[in-house]
Amino acid sequence: MSLPSIISQHLERIGAQSHVRGLGLDDSLQPRDRDGLYGQYAARRAAGIIVRMSQDGGKAGRGVLIVGPPGSGKTAIAMGMAQTLGPDTPFTSMSGSEFYSHEMNKTEALTQALRRSIGVEFHEETEVIEGQVVDIQANKTEDGGDVIGTLVLKTTEMETEYDMESKMLEALSKEKVSVGDVITIDKASGKVTRVGTSFGAGREFDAHGPQTRFVPCPEGELQKRKEVVHTVTLHEIDVINSRSQGFMALFAGDTGEIRPEVRDQINVKIAQWIEEKKAKLVPGVLFIDEVHMLDIECFAFLNRALESRLAPVVVMATNRGISTIRGTSHVSAHGIPSDLLDRILIVRTKKPSKDEVKEILKIRASEEDVEFDFDEESEESPALDYLADISEVTSLRYCIQLITLSSLVAQRRHSAVVEEQDIKKVYDLFLDVDRSSEMMSRDFLFHAEEKDEDDE
């Protein structure tokens, strides 16, 4: 028995980069066409080296800039880096425009992002619930109440039923927990760990993978104190310690600004822990997409922050060439001041070729459960070919949008596969930028270009 499909559907919504599972590199960092990535070999190798550097630790404050035309896979490479680093290395993904808010000044937002990207690992005895899963049920709520599921856990001696909220259900399905598994739930953080499958679990009809770890059913009480390894980010420590400052905590929550004294104290404490070998620093990666959206103040701050001992690897991405630096009238490469550019390494992604576009479209189509027609003789798909042709004159992102639309059109014809005619239809129905602006110049009343001509 596993969780009903209603939840997994909700969890596995298809995002633009959801098919990326890693950087697709082998052990010697040679790029392969896997993990949902295709092409951009040089950039991927470079990213792989950065990941190695971060995993080695101790080398903080490195900056990398990924530059390339729109749709060439900059964000996909960053996602791949996050996946390769694994769940225990902090990876923060932000967009350049996220640093502007009324609640918080820019440098505070940047500091928080940087501190979110550095982890501290330590051993600690904490209260956990440890047991074998007897039953998991997800209930639909009609009234929007809190309780949405039931979990039954047992040890060799006892059994307890729990009410679950959506947060816990999601955590369980993320860990792929099913009946018969032995799990621990950290009572402080709510973190779910799947220890293995119980020996006693009678699942005769289920096939077990080679990775299945068999463990005995826990003994004694369900709640116990146990030593666990925690990784928390510096930002989380900041929040906890500014919260326990008494009733002021009500006003300064997660979103507010954190006082610099609190951070100073924490930095001293952490240095002490590391000295005493009680904790280990896990430098992570901060990814800033659309970095040209930052202004001169942010760049100046970032410059200084990269010099600090507690700095993560900062990966930035931009699609701008020579452009003005925000907040100034100066022009610089990629819209980034030259003193910061000096400090960082630049990785380039190239505009994908027609064959590469085809492969990328294929990956996206299978991610979206769309099948293209297939010609036995030429071993080619005419529909895919046509779509790749469209991408030559439009853009890759536009073509990715057409995949799902064309499959909906194909469904209307009761066809399981997408053919050329479906793509032609959606290509006519939905305009790309070029065709749209061309139409504007013809039909619209007050078109800027036309007006210019009239003036002359």
């Binding site: 001696e157 307890t160 009572k187 402080a188």
Partner: protein
Amino acid sequence: MGLVPGGNKTVAIRGDKKFIKTVYDNGTEVEEILRQSDGILIVRRVRHQSFIGDYSEWNYEVGSEDSVPELKPRSSKISVPSIGIRAKSYTPICVRHDLADAFEWHISPLIYPSKTYDVSVEGKFIVVKTTNRKYYKKINLSDIAWVGEKSLDESLLKWNYVGNTLKIRYKKSVSIIRREREQMFLMQKAEKEATSDKKTPGAPSQQCPQQ
């Protein structure tokens, strides 16, 4: 009564109740509440400070949140964010109630027939078992360690099952009662000294920030 040893203690008196807060060097906090009239311990709750400075939830060793109205959180806003899981409301709860001459635990609601239960002494612990393996509890009685007793005495243990409640009673040994009397005496002495210093009889000996 039988207070935790050591630590940094702060006492406050309100009405018939005496609040004693003990803070240890490692950040662990213990709050104990005594009834002034008979010196019985109504509540003892413990919380630990985690490595990174976070506090765990209060863990009730004696009594429960419902024992004293002051313990109810005043505003729901202050409560710790939920982790998304909690035991069903009909899960049995074990609550310790102290008497003058014995420790008593009430476990309820337990809905299985009376022959299901087995209560025994295993070293330092009182262990509650069920033959249908639905409920299990290992009760730690730290009071005995404070008087230097290594293990519990089976002959002092009595239990019965009435009205969906399992009642377990462990008679206080002579040394435990002696320790409690000594503590009571010392505390009354300290209180007298504190009040005579201030020359304001009846005022609280010290301010307790929490209560």
